[in-house]
Amino acid sequence: MNPVLQVIDLQVSYYTDTGRAIALNGVTLALSAGEKLGLVGESGSGKSTMALAMMRMIKPPGRIEGGQVIVGDTDLTKLSNDDMLKARLSKIAYIPQGAMNSLNPVMRIGDQMADAIRAHDPKADKFAVEDRCVGALESVDLKPSVYKMYAHELSGGMKQRVCIAIGILLKPQVIIADEPTSALDVVTQRQVMETIDRVQKQIGAAVILIGHDMGLMAQFVDKVAVMYAGRLAEMSTVRQMFTTPAHPYAQALISSLPSLDNKGVFQGIPGLAPSLLRLPSGCAFHPRCPHAMDVCTTKRPELETLDDGRRVACHLYPEKA
């Protein structure tokens, strides 16, 4: 199937007072329509930077330094600023982290949905706009009356649904959900995830779900990508990732998860995440890696596809000829 989203060799750096921090270092991935990818990794591994870079919302002192983000057949990195404004929400939508404060407190929900439609279609008929907004609200299980309400009249879960409704207003091909369930209780989390799941099926978009919650990932995504220090360490199907993770970092990550059969003291990952200002040479994980070899300190492993389809960046898996 033709990929609907292609990220090719994406590079992002932040220029800080203490030097250049490489936040994304050559990330490449592809998603087809209807596919759900979970993006996991510890804080500072580049998950949110990845989302912002795909939306072209990296702010100074950050900069996209190379690579392409192709949605459908449009390369977002080549668009003018005005065209990028139009592409946001209509081609690629973002559902924010911390939906608690993502709605303007002084505007009605409806107005905040309508202005998004109008930004892309200034001549849209007033009633048609309202119909579309109410339709979007209904598709996330909210009553039409929410259209006239203010953010402070909604619960946390309802606000998150409104954000999802806004995200799908223009039927984008790609939806990025950045920790959409943080700050929600588990029951609401599940409802919100089911909502995302359902609307995604309706509009056939590819979804990138960013988060820390491996349990949630296991239930909702098809593929999991593990990021480490601005690079993809491994990308495989959910089943592969949770049963036989290939990359040593992914293995450590999975074995640190609590499970019902596996009682006892949890195993953390020794060491700390590296500073993006001074990445270790070779594989960035080698100082913490139990399988580190000599080659790991000098040569950076590239993402290679293994026989079973998973893609791993590790010297333990010899490159195919």
């Binding site: 939306m55 946001r88 911390g98 404060n101 993502s102 202005d115 892309h120 806004i166």
Partner: protein, 332 residues
């Protein structure tokens, strides 16, 4: 906004008026001086009174103004007359009432203060909002800085400076007073223009003296608001910079500024009155100063009370309008 809340606010206003009038009643009476005696003693020094007649005049005046009655009775009568909007008469320009004096001078004061306060609020908040907006062009963001520097200078000093350089040295604008000498007030265009020319310097000194405060507080507020998630999400929605600036950033950053406006009203009136006096405008300030100089006590108390009530009413008005700006206040 519920009817209950409106009634609550209005009752509070009545309470403020009562407290203000009680204070204006008792403060002068704490002094051992009798205003009428003071006034006639002053006149007597210029000669023409025999001491016996003076006592008789004072006694009859005391009776006329009710100053011979017991304090409590004076107080209840005073509160009663306030409730009927009766502020008494001027001792100096008898039989003009205090209301007459206020009515003559108020239009000048209201025009000057209203125009300068609105201009200063709008200008200061726009400049402050732009100064904190990272995507505004840098020359636009820099405009705010000189106003912030002027903020430290009291309006009266600015008035002096403007008078000296613009009116006295460059002779671009008149030195003072409300209109050119010899003109008879009417509603002709040329007269209105003449008045406007005379109002420019007082207005400028009031605006320059206050704009910086709005700039500073708005810039601080703006820095906070632009980091809010909803501003960020608005950008993710693909809205234009102008829409985000106006509907997501400015509208939210303005909320505390409106509260600040209500709180600033008292200061506005005080510096307004001083500046008015400085430029010789026939507003409330001049009437108040004349009354203070001539010990015209009822006028002083009347104007002080009037200003207190006016500021309190404006504050209630701002508070009643606030829910229109912030829906979160409506049910509270």
């Amino acid at each position: 906004m519920s009817a209950r809340r409106i009634i609550q606010r209005l009752l509070f206003l009545v309470l403020v008026v009562w407290a203000a009038s009680t204070i204006t009643f008792f403060i002068p009476r704490l002094s051992p001086k009798n205003p009428i005696r003071e006034r006639f003693a002053q006149l007597a020094r210029t000669g023409g009174f025999s001491p016996g007649d003076l006592e008789k005049i004072i006694a009859s005046m005391n009776t006329k103004f009710g100053l011979d009655k017991p304090l409590l009775q004076q107080y209840t009568e005073y509160i009663g007359s306030i409730a009927r909007f009766d502020l008494g008469v001027s001792l100096n320009q008898f039989p003009k009432t205090v209301w007459d004096l206020i009515a003559e001078s108020l239009p000048w004061t209201i025009t000057l203060l209203l125009v300068t306060t609105v201009l200063s609020f709008v200008l200061g908040n726009l400049l402050g909002a732009v100064a904190a907006w990272p995507r505004a062009p840098s020359w636009l963001r820099a405009i705010a800085t000189p106003f912030v520097l002027l903020q430290g200078v009291p309006p009266v000093l600015l008035a002096l400076f403007l008078l000296f350089f613009i009116a006295f040295r460059l002779k671009l604008l008149p030195l003072g007073s409300a209109y050119s000498t010899g003109r008879i007030p009417d509603w002709s265009f040329s007269f209105i223009l003449d008045v406007a020319r005379h109002q420019i310097l007082p207005a400028l000194s009031l605006i320059f003296g206050t704009v910086g405060g709005w700039v500073l507080s708005m810039r601080g507020m703006g820095v906070t608001i632009q980091g809010e998630d909803y501003v960020n999400f608005a950008e993710h929605k693909g809205l234009s910079g102008y829409t985000i600036f106006r509907n997501y950033y400015l509208r939210n950053a303005l909320l505390p500024q409106v509260t600040g406006l209500a709180l600033a009203l008292g200061n506005v009136v005080v510096s307004g009155i001083v500046v008015e006096q400085f430029f010789g405008l026939p507003g409330l300030g001049q009437v108040l100063f004349a009354a203070i100089q001539s010990n015209d006590f009822l006028v002083i108390y009347g104007i002080v009370l009037f200003i207190t009530i006016a500021v309190a009413s404006l504050m209630v008005l701002v508070e009643l309008l606030y829910p229109l700006l912030d829906p979160r206040i409506r049910e509270a």
